[in-house]
Amino acid sequence: METTVESFRCMMCGEVFQESMEKGEDRERTCPKCRSNSIRHLKAPRTPHQERMP
């Protein structure tokens, strides 16, 4: 299973944290600071090559 460390942002308290994420995982996430489930996965910015892709 491919595992990467990804960044997440709590939409309730603004906490930004990193957690490991497995490809295709099925997992509930919780903010380590305020326990909210409003966790936004912060995707890496698209590269110029990706921007050109249709």
């Binding site: 309730m12 489930n37 409003s38 996965h41």
Partner: protein
Amino acid sequence: MGNFTVTIRKKARYVDPTLCNTCGECAKVCPVVVPDEYQMGLSSRKAAYIPFPQAVPSSYILNMDDCLGNNPIACGKCADVCDKQAIDFDDRDELITREVGAVIVAIGLDVYDPAPLDEYGYTRFDNVITSMEFERLICAGGPTAGHFVRPSDQRQPQRIGFIQCVGSRNPAIGRPYCSSICCMNTVKDTLLLADHYPGVENVVFYQDIRAVGKSFEELFQRSKEAGTRYVRGLPGEIEEDPVTRNLIVTVENTTSGDLERHELDMVVLSVGVQPPKDLAKISGLLTLSKTSEGFFLEAHPKLKPVDAPTRGVYFAGFCESPKDIKDSVCQAGAAASRAGALLNAGSIQIEALTSRIDDAACTKCGLCAPVCPFSAITWHKGELAVVTEAMCMGCGSCSATCQYGAISMRHFTDEQLLAQVRAILAEDPQDKVFAFACNWCSYAGGDMAGISRITYPATNRVVRTLCSARVSDEMVIEAFRCGAPVLLVSGCHYADCHYINANRQTVKRIHRLWDRLEKAGVRPERLQLEWISAAEGQKFARVMRQLEELRATVTPEEIAHARTALKPRTKKKAAAETAAVAGAS
């Protein structure tokens, strides 16, 4: 529902059971020797063998994984000595197809492998065994004919330690649950030892003894009266005396607070149980969901404890949750009864909470089919989508996904839900916290907060949907256009989703909405997502307090901006987005 086509693989035996008279000559001449799985590897078997003494039919089989080969025949000694000519190297697996009305899932359990718990030395010390290996050693049909000896020197042990909760109640190894059977199994084992070998010393290291059940406490007391010593505390380390091969167990007795060292002849690890490895495969075949612990999730923990969320499927035994033999038998009886009731019913009634497709509005895009957790929507490229209403459970995920309003949920239509949104936000929307709550968990969590008399701000207004996946982009956008300062979408926890995994669609939708809000210059934090179970009244109240604090930070300018910046989606734009999603998938 109740219409399954089942394909069963009947594995080749390579021995004709109608001819085999179990003389055993084939096993005698078989040159292959492998560990006997039934005896937990404590003895060996041949490639020609009877899997276990009570096997039906009582005849030998050839295990082709172990045999030297049948194509071409590499050995063939078994066939040479078989007078009955029962050996058939040309035997092949047989696929049998059956039409069935109900399926009972009773796939059992796997036993935890204690090898990763290095502090117990299971892989290092011969005299550390598991409770399953203990069963084989003490059994009259076991490798030692019931003579309990320690593996290192075949000597009868005099001091035996049992360590409880090995692989159970341990969140650090991902097994936070109680296996429920180990305590009483150990109590039984200590009584067996006391009965077979008077004078033997038994020490049980435990964190709690859970003797719940008829006569279980009495059995526990009998074990103590028989001389078994119970030490509250789990050992931190086991060492071996290299000369005597005795085991030195170091444990903190949490009752006395003393650090104790016990020299024992043998240690039995009371291993826990875990979901069987094939559970994921069965889950996929029958579209079943799992709990966070990995067991199958029932349709309802109290009202439908043996029913799967997929109609016509029932559970029996350990695959649903850890339980002992008595409870497994009870559940099996209940499952058979439920299946019988289904099969004997001439017709069934289902809730009218199902999806309906408007053929005139359907654009044949097919996006609805993959989001249905129950595979109730059939779609082929270029054709209209079709809902099998008997399979539809009414989560509404398809309706929320359809960009063209072609799918409506009976009693939870877009019009009905949008009317509630508009009515709630018609007056003083800036003072309200708007929430969508799923019927089964979050809404019930709000009820729990109420009946528990937990106070929370009175500014919230809740709209009930059957599942959080029913909340469409349009409903969220409409709420912001109506002036909602903050909005909550709440549903069941991941493992508790009553529609298998429909709430995963909610997560995807909320992420898309966060992006959309951000692009429109609307603070995405104004849209919140929470998983609240029916028992989490405290959490419901906490979330409402947090949302109220968030609401107080939203300015009238922000509300006004959202009203104008978030436009209803045009059909043209919806079509373009649909095409993009279809292309990506």
